[in-house]
């Protein structure tokens, strides 16, 4: 059984939703982002999304754009991100890792070789923002062959009649982009979320993660109970950015982000 499937099944048995924090690889440097990655499970991460820095993140808001630029400046490459995952896997063989990014670095690496190397490094799933289902044959066969889930995104404006096409072959979980917009901007209202979920439940039995615009512990707890998981990204990165001194990590960086994550995790777990 895949790590993603196993994790959602065990959480279901516990009767709670998952918390999925996001970090941008190499932000603001390799050492700091690796320390964050390694510290996240103990701070309450159930799954982890790692952003792969790209020069032109056209679906991201200012917070993640800045993080991507810091990551690139620190020398991030796709191979370097895979090495981070390999290092993480030395001490953690259970927490699912999902890479989130854009097509071109993968295209440049070579999609087939990438799927082999990513699976070997311990990656479980891929979210490729600018690779809609219509274009997913770029790597869907290689991903499947190597046991990587391509996480399907669904948006509020996705028509009902499109859902079967998107979800019939989906695996892992569904990523519900809860607003029409870029990352780290608006937050979906309770009513908007409540209206969206039945549509997804009717179309698929996969777990639903809710992302975009989830900033607070309360919002995360609500999303993780309405859906099956909450993704928190820009809020953590904003905290990271606030601890930087002249663009460099400070002694406060890792603790500040992990403390915030722990606060959110407590809310999600109701403890």
């Amino acid at each position: 059984m895949s790590r993603i499937k196993a994790r959602f099944e065990s959480l279901k048995a516990e009767g709670r939703g998952a918390l999925i924090p996001y970090l941008q690889a190499y932000d603001p440097d390799l050492e700091t982002s690796l320390a964050l990655l390694k510290g996240m499970p103990a701070a309450g991460a159930d799954l982890i999304e790692i952003g792969v820095p790209f020069s032109d993140p056209s679906a991201d808001g200012p917070t993640i754009q800045a993080a991507a630029l810091r990551g690139l400046k620190a020398g991030a490459t796709l191979a370097g991100v895979l090495a981070m995952v390999r290092a993480f896997r030395q001490n953690d063989s259970d927490t699912p890792i999902i890479l989130m990014g854009y097509v071109n670095p993968i295209d440049s690496y070579g999609p087939a070789r990438f799927c082999v190397d990513a699976a070997e490094a311990g990656v479980d799933g891929l979210i490729i923002v600018d690779l809609p289902k219509e274009e997913s044959d770029l790597l869907s066969a290689d991903a499947q062959k190597n046991g990587l889930d391509i996480i399907q995104l669904v948006a509020p404006n996705t028509p009902d009649e499109r859902l079967p096409y998107l979800l019939n072959t989906a695996s892992g979980f569904i990523y519900y982009v809860s607003i029409t917009g870029i990352t780290g901007t608006r937050t979906a209202s309770h009513d908007e979320l409540a209206a969206a979920l039945p549509r997804l439940r009717a179309a698929s039995s996969l777990p639903v993660a809710i992302g975009f615009g989830i900033r607070t512990a309360e919002q995360a707890a609500r999303a993780a109970s309405v859906g099956d998981a909450a993704v928190v990204a820009s809020a953590l990165i904003a905290t990271l950015a606030s601890t930087l001194e002249n663009g460099k990590a400070s002694s406060a960086t890792v603790p500040a982000v992990l403390d915030q994550l722990a606060d959110i995790a407590r809310a999600v777990r109701g403890t």
Binding site: N104, P132, R162, G181
Partner: protein, 408 residues
């Protein structure tokens, strides 16, 4: 589209395919939030294309507002100066707003109105597309938001002022390198956040399908007229077509109606900047490789890890690290030749045309002219070159003065 040139079964003019691809290039690489929009747009465009009423409406605005047809001018003094081929200029700079950009903008604004959209967003580099977009928004009373790189805002102040006068909001984009690609990213972010009422009016033959096809179709009026005009005055087709390329819309517009005419050679001129191997270039085909950006697969300037490189050109309109996907395909099948022209060569050409024909060209098409200067002397007087004079150069006089050491 009304045209005397009808596509053949084995035509090079039939693209794109059902997936919006030209060979391996093109496609629809956009976020899921944008998929319903590009699919709606493709459907709306196909419906408009099949509706004679839409074409009639466009023809009306082309004639009475844009000022079409544009003349095909026999540049006698320029031809004599260079010695060799007979040179014609397709005078797109005489269109309202001073460039070919209005052809596409007029087509898309009529489509946006048919679709019931009330707000327009667009990206712009040199500002020509932004001005054209702001113009039609003024004409039809639509809200208009233009994204323009902060660097370009600085070097194209007259166009920024024109957009303001026309009632548009101009947002300087400081992200990334502050040029056209970053303005494109920001326009896409705006579109995804305002899907309910906003139409994204792309200015070139790039972006997700159906933009490359649609923009090409609207710009093809350039080649359709050129074909008729040259047959009228010369009773034969030209030997060579030349056009400058940033994203490549003026070139596609000129080339497309001639693609099946095997005797007609075509040259697309990319901005080589400081030189093709200088590292400061915008020549995506000559120095790029296949990749995915802004919704399509095409040739891109990028590093070995797939990060997009910053383009360089003296001309803000050519300063883009990609190129329309149909050009990438035409390059790979060998139908069109793509060459590079440097900043310096373009500046020389700019001055030559001004002195010999009394026409101040945009720096964009000065690149095309520089290529004409290279090939015309070795051709014979009975051979014909058509250069697409895609824009006028008033906007560039500050840049040119600066490079000539003159302070205005």
């Amino acid at each position: 589209m009304s045209s005397e040139v009808s596509p053949r079964l084995n035509s090079l003019r039939n693209g794109p395919d059902q997936r919006g691809r030209f060979g391996t290039f093109g496609g629809q690489f956009v976020a899921e939030t944008l998929m319903p929009l590009v699919q709606d747009l493709a459907n709306a465009y196909q419906a408009a294309k099949a509706d004679p009423g839409f074409r009639q409406e466009l023809d009306y605005y082309f004639r009475d507002y844009v000022g079409r047809p544009s003349p095909l001018w026999h540049a006698k003094r320029l031809s004599k100066e260079l010695g060799g081929a007979k040179i014609y200029l397709k005078r797109e700079e005489l269109n309202h707003t001073g460039s070919h950009k209005l052809n596409n903008v007029m087509g898309q604004i009529l489509l946006a109105r048919r679709m019931g959209k009330t707000r327009i967003v667009a990206e712009t580099g040199a500002g020509q597309h932004g001005v054209a977009t702001a113009t039609v928004c003024a004409l039809f009373g639509l809200k208009c938001t233009i994204y323009m790189g902060a660097v370009d805002v600085e070097r194209q102040k007259p166009n920024v002022f024109r957009m303001h006068l026309l009632g548009a909001e101009v947002h300087p984009v400081t992200a990334g390198s502050g040029t056209l690609k970053d303005a494109m990213n920001e326009a896409m972010r705006d579109w995804v956040a305002n899907v309910h009422d906003t139409y994204f009016l792309v200015g070139t033959v790039a972006g997700p399908h159906p933009y490359p096809e649609m923009v090409r179709d609207f710009q093809s009026i350039i080649g359709i007229e050129t074909r008729e005009q040259i047959l009228t005055v010369e009773n034969r087709l030209p030997d060579v077509l030349v056009a400058a390329i940033g994203g490549g819309s003026n070139a596609m517009g000129l080339f497309h109606p001639f693609l099946d005419d095997e005797s007609v050679k075509m040259i697309g001129v990319e901005a080589a900047g400081h030189g093709l191997d200088s590292g400061l270039t915008a020549a995506s085909i000559s120095r790029g490789r296949s990749g995915v950006l802004h919704g399509n697969r095409t040739y891109l300037l990028q590093d070995e890890f797939g990060q997009i490189a910053e383009a360089h050109s003296i001309s803000a309109g050519l300063d883009y690290p990609g190129i329309g996907p149909e050009h990438s395909w035409l390059n790979d099948i060998g139908r069109v030749e793509y060459v590079g022209v440097t900043d310096k060569e373009a500046l020389d050409a700019f001055q030559l045309l001004t002195r010999t024909e009394g026409i101040i060209p945009a720096l964009e098409c000065a690149h095309g002219l520089a290529q004409v200067m290279k090939i015309a002397p070795s051709m014979t007087p009975d051979q014909i070159i058509v250069l697409n004079l895609s824009g006028r150069g008033d906007k560039d006089i500050f840049t040119v003065a600066d490079h000539l050491g003159v302070s205005l």
